[in-house]
């Protein structure tokens, strides 16, 4: 969970935009999170497959907390 607001470390988890097993490209929106003034779309920092969703929609989350896991697929060079 990135730190979205310079003044707050705690947010409400919104919705997962990708479900477990779905492929996601780097930069695509992975989830939405709500802070006091805004709903932020948080993009994935890697390309891979969503392996785990560790928090539910509506849960309180803190900056730095692991909210999910995206497995990076290694590309073999031949």
């Amino acid at each position: 969970m990135p730190k979205l607001s310079p003044k707050s470390d705690q947010y409400f988890f919104g919705t997962w935009e990708k479900q477990v097993g779905e492929h996601i490209q780097k930069g695509e929106v992975l989830f939405e999170v709500e802070s006091e003034k805004v709903i932020s779309e948080v993009p994935s920092e890697v390309t891979g497959v969503v392996a785990e969703q560790r928090v539910d929609e509506g849960a309180t989350v803190k900056a730095g907390e692991v909210v999910g896991v995206v497995t990076v697929q290694m590309i073999e060079r031949r």
Binding site: L4, S8, E34, E36, K37, V38, I39, E41, V42, P43
Partner: protein, 292 residues
């Protein structure tokens, strides 16, 4: 933060770019600078920092006033930092800003109420990045026009002071020392005494419980005072302790206010939910053909 507030509308959904926000944040930290973007928890911070735009908040992060809509801390302020003007100018240079908005906390504790720091900042920017156009967003200086005059004499391109809301709601929304008539007098004085090339600007928030008639009456007051630019945005309640949000104002009403305001004679009007004083502020100068 304890509970989510009234369900937020879709337009409050913004894209967060952590990498670019970090870069701007690190530069500002290195130079010990504050931005109203961070201190007020602005919803546009991702977009603005992502494009290298920031609105500097001089005179420290703590404000002597306690406006009920505002997220800037109401605490005892620190002494004035005389290196701040140079640091602001250096940040503008590093970020390559063509237009900058400089605002401040209220400093009722200082003999000059903070006016001279605005002057020093304007002078430092002119020295280091003379091509940058400057917008100052000032406090009401307790309605003391000689202090307004000092800032005007430094010749910013835009002199901005926010009305914030309509007359009836002012005592409910702003600190009791900030009156509707003080603010109107500051704007009128600025219009009457600004050098040629300085435009006068103000802004109001919607969603505080104002009526159409009250908004139009405020527009009439502003036109009579000689205000050139008007910004209209949606109030977003910073926390449950702040002034209670009354309404997410529909987009159609922002559009209606835009049309009415232009008909009343403003030279430029920005009216949309996410509009803030400094959001894409260079557009107004472009609209009246000002470049440096």
């Amino acid at each position: 933060m304890t509970t989510p507030q009234t369900k937020k509308p879709a337009w409050l959904r913004v894209r967060y770019d952590q990498t670019q926000v970090k870069q701007v944040s690190q530069l500002l930290d290195q130079l010990h600078l504050n931005t109203v973007c961070a201190e007020a928890n602005c919803p546009n911070i991702g977009e603005c920092f992502g494009t290298g735009t920031a609105a500097f908040m001089i005179l420290g992060p703590n404000c002597t006033r306690n406006c009920h809509f505002c997220d800037v801390p109401h605490k005892r302020p620190a002494p004035v930092d005389l290196t701040e003007p140079l640091h602001v100018a250096q940040a503008i240079q590093k970020l390559g800003l063509k237009h900058v908005c400089v605002t401040s906390t209220d400093r009722d504790d200082l003999p000059d109420l903070g006016a001279d720091q605005f002057v020093r900042v304007i002078q430092a920017i002119r020295h280091l990045t003379p091509q940058t156009t400057i917008e100052v967003l000032t406090p009401d200086f307790q309605g003391k026009t000689p202090l307004v005059q000092r800032v005007l004499a430094a010749q910013p391109e835009v002199f901005n002071h926010n009305m914030e809301t309509v007359r009836r709601l002012t005592p409910l929304v702003r600190d009791r020392r900030a009156t509707y008539d003080h603010s109107l007098a500051v704007l009128r004085y600025a219009h009457q005494h600004a050098a040629p090339g300085t435009y006068v600007k103000t802004g109001i928030m919607l969603g505080l419980g104002e009526t159409d008639e009250e908004v139009y009456a405020t527009m009439d007051d502003l036109i009579a005072a000689g205000v050139d630019f008007l910004s209209i945005g949606q109030y977003v309640q910073p926390s449950p302790k702040h002034y209670q949000l009354r309404e997410w104002v529909p987009m159609e009403r922002f559009q209606t206010y835009y049309r009415v305001a232009m008909q009343k004679g403003f030279k430029f009007v920005a009216s949309s939910p996410l509009v803030r004083s400094s959001y894409k502020a260079s557009a107004e100068l472009a609209a009246v053909g000002v470049t440096r």
